[in-house]
Symmetry: C3
Subunit: 676 residues, 3 copies
Amino acid sequence: MTRENPFPRIYFGGDYNPDQWSEEVWEEDMRLFELAHVNMVTLPVFSWAKIQPSEDEFRFEWLDRILDLLASRGISACLATPTAAQPAWMSRNYPDILPVDEEGRKRTHGKRVNYCPNSPSYRKFSRGIALRMAERYRAHPALAIWHISNEYGTYCFCDNCAAAFRKWLKKRYATVGELNRRWNLDFWGHLIADWEEITVPSELNDDNKWYQPKMLDYLRFLTDSTIDCFNNEKEAILSVSSDIPVTTNMSGFIKKMNQQLFNEHMDYAAWDNYPAPGAEPSLVALKHDIVRGLKGGRSYIMMEQSPNQQNWQPFNTLKRPGEVRLLSYQALAHGADTVLFFQMRQSVGGVEKFHGALIEHHGAENTRVFRECAALGGELERLGDVFTGGTTEAKAALLVDWENWWALELSTGPNRDTDYMAILHKYYKAFYGRNILVDVIRPESDLSSYSLVAVPNLYMVKPGVSDNLKAYTKQGGCLVTGCFSGIVDENDLVTTKGFPGEMRDLLGIWVEEFDALPPDRENGIAINDPIGKLTGTYSCAHLFDLLHLESAEALGTYTDDFYKGRPSLTVNRYGKGSAYYVATDPEQALLDDLIGELCRQNGVEAPETVPAGVEVTVRKKGGASCFFFMNHGEETVRLPLKGRKLLVGKILPEKDGLRIVLPHGGVAIAVEERAL
Amino acid sequence: MTRENPFPRIYFGGDYNPDQWSEEVWEEDMRLFELAHVNMVTLPVFSWAKIQPSEDEFRFEWLDRILDLLASRGISACLATPTAAQPAWMSRNYPDILPVDEEGRKRTHGKRVNYCPNSPSYRKFSRGIALRMAERYRAHPALAIWHISNEYGTYCFCDNCAAAFRKWLKKRYATVGELNRRWNLDFWGHLIADWEEITVPSELNDDNKWYQPKMLDYLRFLTDSTIDCFNNEKEAILSVSSDIPVTTNMSGFIKKMNQQLFNEHMDYAAWDNYPAPGAEPSLVALKHDIVRGLKGGRSYIMMEQSPNQQNWQPFNTLKRPGEVRLLSYQALAHGADTVLFFQMRQSVGGVEKFHGALIEHHGAENTRVFRECAALGGELERLGDVFTGGTTEAKAALLVDWENWWALELSTGPNRDTDYMAILHKYYKAFYGRNILVDVIRPESDLSSYSLVAVPNLYMVKPGVSDNLKAYTKQGGCLVTGCFSGIVDENDLVTTKGFPGEMRDLLGIWVEEFDALPPDRENGIAINDPIGKLTGTYSCAHLFDLLHLESAEALGTYTDDFYKGRPSLTVNRYGKGSAYYVATDPEQALLDDLIGELCRQNGVEAPETVPAGVEVTVRKKGGASCFFFMNHGEETVRLPLKGRKLLVGKILPEKDGLRIVLPHGGVAIAVEERAL
Amino acid sequence: MTRENPFPRIYFGGDYNPDQWSEEVWEEDMRLFELAHVNMVTLPVFSWAKIQPSEDEFRFEWLDRILDLLASRGISACLATPTAAQPAWMSRNYPDILPVDEEGRKRTHGKRVNYCPNSPSYRKFSRGIALRMAERYRAHPALAIWHISNEYGTYCFCDNCAAAFRKWLKKRYATVGELNRRWNLDFWGHLIADWEEITVPSELNDDNKWYQPKMLDYLRFLTDSTIDCFNNEKEAILSVSSDIPVTTNMSGFIKKMNQQLFNEHMDYAAWDNYPAPGAEPSLVALKHDIVRGLKGGRSYIMMEQSPNQQNWQPFNTLKRPGEVRLLSYQALAHGADTVLFFQMRQSVGGVEKFHGALIEHHGAENTRVFRECAALGGELERLGDVFTGGTTEAKAALLVDWENWWALELSTGPNRDTDYMAILHKYYKAFYGRNILVDVIRPESDLSSYSLVAVPNLYMVKPGVSDNLKAYTKQGGCLVTGCFSGIVDENDLVTTKGFPGEMRDLLGIWVEEFDALPPDRENGIAINDPIGKLTGTYSCAHLFDLLHLESAEALGTYTDDFYKGRPSLTVNRYGKGSAYYVATDPEQALLDDLIGELCRQNGVEAPETVPAGVEVTVRKKGGASCFFFMNHGEETVRLPLKGRKLLVGKILPEKDGLRIVLPHGGVAIAVEERAL
């Protein structure tokens, strides 16, 4: 594996902490890894204090030994710099490392990911250890991937950060006058006369909740500071080890860290997949598609998932038999090329002692979890590289903007319950429910290859975005937008051009005002004339745009309140295409029916028609199409094989041919060779 | 308008922030103000940093220009000192300005109303800017009212405040021994030997919740400190501009600031009316009546209301068509002489960017909101001064004490849910529901003009109050009191004379103990012998006084629990009058029926009998009585005109004469000339 | 009364604060004490500032006078050192006394119990005042008991504590290496190289929630520090007054203070009994039994209860007529030899001004509360010493470990709702419901005298405990254990021997994993073959152990989910005895039926069979058995007298003999003389 040529096989394994165990245990681990077909482990995350017990002392010997042991067994290392947890001596001797929290409290040593991203000492020591590791292991036969630090995401509000923030602002805005203008600092008399007057937004001045332009920039600044931490180590590594890919793992969906920006700096996107017990499969799928979109569809790394229960949920339900397998294949189906777990061996003490592991506190290979994982490892081994590096070809796109997430939820008003991820999920489900493959990309991405594009609630419209959407639609594209769009610019300043701002001519409407109601009060969308399945009345809630038709026509109207009869669903013919506007937060069925109809009209089809509850995706590699079938439903279903070659799953002959049998939780992979 | 001769017309307009806009926009604003009949704007609230960009630099030119522009259009200025938000340089160079919060955290610059009321620097600079403004504008033709700062209400717990608190205490109590006694510092060994030992009550010692006598005095001290801030500027202004009225706006009902005391220092009472969406009209009416009572019934200023949605509510519902008009007339009906909005033009950035405005981000005069407001402005213009300065003649009074609010809710026990404003509202509704005009005044006010006086839950009885109530009753007055009354003195020390303390002989009862129950457990009040509509059994909840009759007689008794059969409603004949005691928190119907009956017995009548849902008030001026009719109900009603002259509203002829037609949300004003 | 010979009579009275009152009031109090049969008062808790108004000034004269007055009336003093509330001058001049809270905030003077337990100044001054009091009053005729401080339970996180914590750790673990191992500091790279690197666990590093081994030791350290505070004063007292018992009162069940350890240092266990309104009688009974167990069954002190309402509850319901009497006898029935109240006279100001008192703010002897208490005092006086010092002979034991409480609830995962006290209560109720007397003791206590031992959810198994349980069972004992047991050692490190760890062979099972579900999802326990009343299916919730039978047999199995049919209730024959395992959190009925059956099988019987709702206990003294009957039910019941002598209660003749009549809330005490 190099930075250019990834994934010779599906990597299977995960986080391993040999430093918590004696070398006798290591031998036992190797035996179990072999039984489970583990071919990659991630280490030594968090071992900085072990490797560098004091400023001038380094102990790599134990790491040498375990890496040699891994290499001898043919197991690759995802080699981590240990910089997510600085040693206690470092916090003690270099207190600039310790962050100040949003309440202005200087933190003390403990926990993890507990450092200031702008600490000079942290930058110096983390670069140092990264360089030493790169020099020592760049040619180690086990080395496959560099993994920098872990789950970045500290906030800090210390004086070092304040100074760096001012510098960052100066670079962005050049003059105090421009800053005053772009932050609208005339409001509430916040005008500044000197850069030094800028404070950081925090609980100590409430600007973190009450002065959105400042807080937005602070979030951008913290993302940039964190990227600098990453690049600081990455540069050190690349200076001596230039051909091994470098990445880090993003924790679930830490909102405060702009992953769309961060991933530009990583060779592969990588994330940790920890669905809450009972999470909808569509939500997990959406997140996978978001991650796949971060690097333009390149296959990515699922860096962590739990082989069983988690420990930080209120109720840490066991993963049911087959559940880990289903989730693992879902990752592969959406573009991942790894199935990595946190963790290989369960620790005996500390906060994660009850988190699931391949090797539990007791039982070795004789546990349900081990058996399930080992069987999965065997399957993956047999799959080889049949789809690694393969890509997903989607005709539909969902446009997502991380900063829109920040801005939309920072806003005070109109509705406290606004939840961007929930809105995205609702639109996504309309595709997912009919197995339409979707690329999740940015509003400024090239849209020319898509037949249908949805962009829900694009509150913040950044420069170039409206032109991009217009060009797409003008050329015949079909665009679906959601309510409360086109409101502010990248500084959260409201447009004075009439909502939806620069998209007003594209959508052919003017939104005069927006009503907000508590969750228990609803309105309805009455469809004027049936369009396919889109007919009758649908409920809607939360936000209600009151709009005027300019060039658009109304497809649906409100059923209640003083705006009864006014448009709630519109379409505007724009160039060769059409732009739809859903003026409120509709029930799922409306989006299902609307998007279903638009897919039909625009020739956007599922790879295969299957019963409800079955998820289908396709990854293409070379001349082959790999079909993934996953049954999230309760009932067993049977699918026609259609002459494909079954790689995973069960077949039964029926009178009309061979059938793939998918029980509850079942998975099948079938490959179809294409004439080249 | 002078300090003595107010309100030549109804002021219509509100907060205006030209400093957020270019001068081209000012011209457009003037055009729109004219269209909307705006005749007063409030400015330049929050513009301190603009006016004084550094310690020795002052820039008034822009303000000169806008004031001249206003004057040229005949628009008055409610001229504000900008001292609610000090400039950033001031916080930076004079850190004594920044407050310490209740958790002991020194705040940083940001937000607004973010200064220590005892900061010497703040006092110096705020006096300075007020003086400069007064000198510069005292003779400006636009000047109508001086408006000091904005929505006072900071808490501070810094060392300057601590020192000032000790000084304040020394003045109040003279000796340490007296303080020890009045705060009951023997309790928990809190005795002090030296003034310097006094700490401020805060989260850092829990005395803010657990040592009521101290916390009560701290609230008094903070009110006094804030009044000092106000007077500090007021004196500067009056030193050069002695005939223009001076006021400030109180924010809704900030509990922590004693408005009954504060308003003594203002020339006119002024408040900001921000009902939550769906607030009961009676609650808004109560607040208006409280404000009218602050300056002895003199007409007051509604300084702010939103012309549409707010932004800080969880769900910022639009004001429905007609709602702003109805709320505006309700203010006038209760004694206001202004209809002022926050805000004239919506800001594009910052926390309030989605707060309603006369001029929205887009649409100019072509918005629903503008049209409604402009129509209202036209109506008000036509009304001229017909009722400005007019007064309300009420025969009923509701006695309210701000410090009783503090003390009642600070107390730990007997019932966590005690809510003074809710109790007041319940009693008030019994009057409001039958359109009995009510003066809301203090327990120590002159009561001789009232036929019926209600004083709910007067937990704290200050010196002179019981004598006042006794004198009133003795002379034939009818007094209604609520449970949990007569418990403590002004230091929250419990009486040892038996509850209700000094009112024991007045009420003819001794309350031995009080039960408290969770909200889901109720008792009942069974009326012994029907008195008019007061009959049968009523439910009651929360608090249950267990009392002994001394000279009183029982009108109702408890229906349940171990105190079944004991008195829950009593009357005591006292001199020529009667004193009623409602020994628990009764359902609304009991108060409706009891107070209805007492009104009947005491000749307290509504100005007019109207269908339910219609609110009626009367303001008298010179020889004229202005009747206000407001329909809060859903159905259209018709009212007889009775030969009055209709100033606002619609008339239709019916067979028995002319009728005022009041649709849902409708308003009518009719004037009746009195023979002088 | 001496340290060896306690309780010549039932002490009746309680906390008295004469320092809050004038000497005239004292005389009135003496009159009322006599009326109420008060024979002991506790004082002068919290009077430090009164006694020592400055560092070198001491004023004992007032205390001399009140003690003399008490002695002259034959009232004993429970003489308190006033060290729970240091004087203000002390906090001011010796700031090391003020604690730092869990959020890192230095507290200011105020409240009470607001000192650092490791403050050198506090130690010095508290020892000093204790010594002076002992010297002055050791021979005072009123002196009966020394009462040190009040309701210990401060947390502190200051630098003095941090230094003391490091010292404490060094003593416990000797080397840094051992600490690294015992805290599993390899996890998250927390390894330390120097003792000075250890920080205290707090909100500032989240180790208070996230690093259990550290937090557990901090809780131990704080308990030890607090015991040191107690012993610091105790030693001073005993140095001059060696024969008077020394104790302190534990506040309810302050979880953070290990009372099992603390009470070892007290001459008598003592606690404050403040049941929430509506608390189940069984929960109060459990707490009494816990306290009786703290000193091996020796009779204990109920130091406080409220004679009426409390003040810190959300809803401070009055105690119903008879309720105080019932609660008082319940205390005596379970082993207390005192009925002491907080408080004798209600204070007029401060947080507790509405807390119940024998003497209320007004009414003297003419209040319901006084009358009830005085009647009770008379009854107790007539009882003399008939059962004081008497013991409870139980054949059943409930094993409780305070540190298990900490560890179980500190753990992140598997189930957030884990509540040790609720689990204990559930098991206890199975005994209580059939009036089986229970000793609540520690897992390491001698079990040889018990026929049935229950040890619910013993998550933490300390050295020696499993051997103790095995020895007990092997000799024929019957052991019942609950789910999630045998998981960790005393450092919260998970066993690698397979759950339930060292108890695996005792229970004959291996628990492979544990499922956790939210509260609305249940499973069932189907009993395979009926065992007495134990039959059919019972619901279960929260936690579900998935186990393998090794030598045990399954008595019940799960009814649902993927583990349907797997054992949920097992028994293992071990030596001559049996060990039961309840693998989940069952509904109450299962425990009732299981424990009911095991009682039957093992000859564990109630002292007497009575109708449901009636509680029965027996205390034995000399040759006499004192039977206590308490009717918690709504209906009056009649019980046969069986020839006993009735000391308290009513008798009625019926045709089959004399009957004790117990109305709702009624109490009877009957004594049965045993032939010696």
